[in-house]
């Protein structure tokens, strides 16, 4: 990638301030300046609320008119200030001069139009080509983003394609007119790691062919370390630091950058299995079949087959897998939120599969969900949410209140928050509350289903530390469901790797993650961005698998 001074500046953001409308509140983005050159990839990194997405929307002229406006500064695209141009000129610039790839390939495409039509729309709007010429160009572009069987996919609707295929369609749509600048807003965040790797590679490949300038908005330092030429770090609407990839990753100047980079969990497993403790959970030959198996036709899906593993007291066991691997199905079976088709789930020596009354088991096994914004009832105070379970199990209100207060302190929240409502807390605080809600029941087993996936890295690091503390203090076992190998390496004693409903490999985290025996585990580790970088120590990691010897 060229970053020499001769290449032309494509995008120049000069002192941009974005205010809420009507003005009066604190600006969303304050006095941001950075340049992007031809063929260069600039990563804009920051946590949620840093203003990174708003900045990229401003470049596209897509800020919601009623809510936000650029109040100061200039945004120059090849020298033309996009803030001054007419609406018609801005429309002409979109797709032709500056294009965008969005985070959610599931929702970024119109569900009622074929994907071919949707790519074609760009050509219809911006060129005078005939229908036949356009079709040819669309099919060519679909081939360039490595979609298989393009004439069939042309006629497909978005819901008929996988997430990775949809994101390729979005990229084809963005790049078909060879724009000078590509804005990519978390384009791989919703994808599995193996798909993410392919998409990152694809963007890079097309960028090299066309010398496109790329602004890549992301919160993921793994991705950043793989693709960035330069990095812009943002925090709460302000630009914290800019520099080349190596400057920021090895020698960040600002404290915030240091904290952000060092919060990225490393892939090096840190814990060994617990020995000499009783089994809390034993899953034996678990099978879950969704749908019916008819006499002639078989519409059923095996979401889990022959799944067996054990969790000991005080142990954190990770179930690792991509979407569709069956990891959440297993978790739901353990909680009997769904009924297993076959097999046994033994909790504290008792098989819960044939049980009718689940009340007693429910207390022993508690669940922490992925999305802290939706897992707490918005109309109940924190105190009510925490005490409800205890009162259901016959504890009187005074005692329940006392225990709720204690548990809140355990998750580093003051007991005084009991009278407040969930919307008054940030995502990280809510997840602490959700953890307290589970822990207050004094369960033997916690199931954490992607419990830190929706959190920013710094918050994620705090919550992981918190879970570790709770395990140490209470001796609870944790079944930790995640797609993120880094997180698993941080916290798990043992791991179970799942693919397409089957366990492909299991064992001590140190063995499985450092010396994977199964091809799939190896592929997962290879696909994890920047496996060879030790973020916590600001240096390349030594002795990691999948990495070329230094």
């Amino acid at each position: 990638m060229t970053t020499d001074n001769q290449s032309r500046v494509v995008l120049s953001v000069e002192g941009v301030t974005i205010d809420t409308r009507p003005a009066g509140r604190k600006p969303i983005v304050r006095d941001i300046s950075f340049d992007v050159k031809e063929g260069e990839t600039v990563c804009v990194v920051g946590e949620s609320g840093s203003g990174k997405s708003v900045t990229s929307m401003a470049v596209m002229g897509l800020l919601p008119k009623d809510a936000l406006q650029v109040s100061k500064g200039r945004i120059l695209l090849d020298g033309e200030d996009v803030l001054q141009v007419s609406a018609a000129r801005m429309r002409a610039l979109r797709a032709a001069g500056v294009a965008m790839v969005f985070q959610e390939p599931m929702t970024a495409l119109n569900p009622v139009k074929t994907v071919g039509e949707q790519i074609d729309e760009v050509l219809r709007l911006h060129t005078k080509d005939s229908a036949a010429q356009r079709r040819k160009k669309v099919l060519e572009m679909m081939e360039r983003v490595h979609l298989p069987d393009v004439t069939r996919i042309y006629k497909a609707f978005p819901h008929e394609l996988s997430g990775g295929q949809r994101q390729r369609i979005v990229i084809a749509m963005a790049l078909i007119l060879r724009p000078r600048l590509l804005l990519a807003d978390e384009p791989t965040t919703a994808l599995d790691v193996t798909t993410q790797k392919q998409i990152l590679h694809l963007i890079k490949e097309l960028q090299e062919q066309e010398k496109t300038a790329v602004v890549f908005v992301t919160h993921d330092f793994g991705v950043v370390s793989e693709i960035a030429d330069r990095i812009v770090v943002m925090n709460r609407g302000e630009l914290v630091e800019t520099g080349t990839r190596d400057e920021i990753l090895t020698a960040p100047k600002q404290d915030y950058t240091r904290m952000l980079v060092s919060s990225v969990p490393s892939l090096i497993p840190r814990r060994s299995p617990v020995t000499g403790q009783p089994k809390v959970l034993e899953v034996v030959g678990l099978v879950k079949r969704y749908g019916k198996k008819g006499l002639i036709s078989d519409h059923s899906v095996l979401a889990a087959q022959e799944v067996s593993f054990t969790v000991h007291k005080g142990e954190i066991t990770g179930i690792i897998g991509e979407s569709g691997s069956g990891k959440s199905t297993v978790a739901r079976c353990v909680m009997r939120l769904t009924d297993p088709s076959q097999g046994a789930v033994v909790v504290n020596g008792q098989d819960i599969v044939p049980m009718r009354r689940l009340r007693d088991v429910r207390k022993q096994v508690q669940y922490i969900f992925q999305d802290p914004y939706r897992s707490l009832n918005p109309r109940r105070t924190i105190g009510q949410s925490l005490m409800e379970g205890l009162i259901n199990y016959g504890i009187d209100e005074g005692e329940a209140r006392r225990r709720a207060g204690e548990t809140l302190e355990l998750v580093n929240m003051p007991a005084s928050v009991m009278n407040r409502y969930p919307h008054q807390f940030s995502g990280g605080q809510r997840q602490r509350i959700a953890i307290a809600r589970a822990v207050v029941m004094k369960p033997d087993l916690l199931i954490a289903d992607e419990a830190v996936s929706a959190l920013d890295v710094t918050v994620q690091a705090q919550v992981l530390r918190l879970l570790e503390d709770i395990r140490a203090n209470t001796g609870v076992s944790i079944l930790f469901i995640t797609h993120d190998l880094r997180v698993a390496a941080q916290i798990c004693n043992t791991v179970v790797v799942m693919q397409k409903g089957r366990i492909v490999e299991q064992g001590a985290a140190g063995d499985v993650l450092a010396n994977p025996r199964h091809d799939y585990t190896r592929a997962l580790i290879d696909a994890a961005p920047a496996p060879d970088w030790d973020f916590q120590n600001f240096r390349p990691a030594a002795g990691m698998p999948g990495m070329a010897p230094a």
């Binding site: 979109r94 797709a95 032709a96 959610e104 569900p111 911006h126 963005a174």
Partner: protein
């Protein structure tokens, strides 16, 4: 798509069969002897016996059901107990006005409500939106018979633009036919305009917040293109649903309108039949209305599949 259509159409058949059985049972299972109900309190035992014989009431229930279903299949709904005319003929005579009025009403309602709803959504929160929404509250709240009489008073009595009441079939000239339909159509369409406009507005606003709308804008699509090319079709499913519901409500609502405007339609026929306890006519009309409902629902289902490819299973 073809498989979806065939499946839906086939699934309507058992529903129609069930409807017919229920309609049959309602009369047979009502308390008391149907013959007594039909013949009235003053009939002699002999008259009742004759009636049972002629209606086949002394045969087993199942046999009666199949005989009756066979009659229906041939289009024979029996004779009116009051006038002695064939029910099929009576109903067909009255079908024209009702269908004409229902069709013009729903067409007018959709033609007015769709643009109103889109404009309100587009101007969300501004005065035009408020105006449309205030008007829709009014249109929904004022009963049809009040709107109807007020319109008769203004446009027929004072201005004399249209005839006060009545109905002329299309065969007597388009002018005579249309002029008598204008006032009832407008009066009847008010609540449906209000209802459909509201649903259109709500759904268009919701769709306009979706990610793919942002994608369309990012492609350089104009606001008009975003609305017509992306938003409307995605908002279509709930809108089609409410239009379907509106048609069924319309058909059951014509009883009132036909009375106000003195139109000899099905609504009036039902009213007369109920007052005269003309059971065979009531039975036939219930069956007809139910069949229409089944077909409207079928049409709505098929339209879902047309508008949203994800529904074609």
């Amino acid at each position: 798509m073809l498989g979806f259509v065939v499946k839906r159409v086939l699934s309507a058949i058992p529903v129609l069969f069930m409807v017919a059985v229920i309609v049959f049972m309602v009369l047979r299972l009502s308390p008391g002897d149907p013959a007594v109900m039909i013949a009235g309190p003053n009939a002699t035992t002999e008259q009742l016996q004759d009636l049972r014989e002629s209606m086949g009431l002394n045969r087993p229930l199942l046999e009666q059901l199949f005989l009756w279903l066979g009659d229906i299949a041939r289009g024979d709904f029996g004779v009116s107990l009051v006038s002695g005319k064939a029910v099929t003929e009576l109903v067909l005579d009255r079908l024209g006005p009702t269908i004409a009025l229902s069709l013009t009403t729903i067409l007018l309602a959709v033609a007015v409500a769709l643009p109103l709803g889109v404009i309100a959504a587009w101007q969300q929160g501004r005065w035009l939106d408020r105006l449309v929404m205030a008007g829709s509250v009014l249109g929904f709240s004022v009963p049809v018979f009040i709107i109807g009489y007020v319109m008769i008073l203004i446009f027929a009595r004072y201005l004399g633009w249209f005839p006060v009441q009545g109905y002329k079939p299309l065969s007597e000239g388009i002018g005579a036919f249309a002029s008598r339909l204008v006032l009832p159509t407008v009066a009847l369409s008010f609540p449906y305009i209000a209802l459909i406009a509201r649903i259109v507005r709500t759904n268009v606003i919701e769709v306009m917040g979706e990610d793919y709308i942002r994608t369309a804008r990012a492609k350089g699509q104009t606001e008009r293109g975003v609305m017509t090319g992306h938003a409307l079709r995605n908002a279509a499913v709930p809108i089609v649903t409410i239009i379907g519901v509106s048609i069924t409500m319309l058909i059951s609502g014509v009883v009132v309108t036909e009375s106000v405007f003195n139109i000899p339609g099905l609504g009036r026929l039902v009213l007369e039949a109920v007052l005269a306890r003309d059971y065979t006519v009531i039975q036939a009309v219930i069956l007809l209305f139910s069949t229409i409902y089944v077909f409207i629902n079928l049409a709505v289902d098929l339209l879902y599949g047309f508008f949203d490819p994800r529904i074609r299973y």
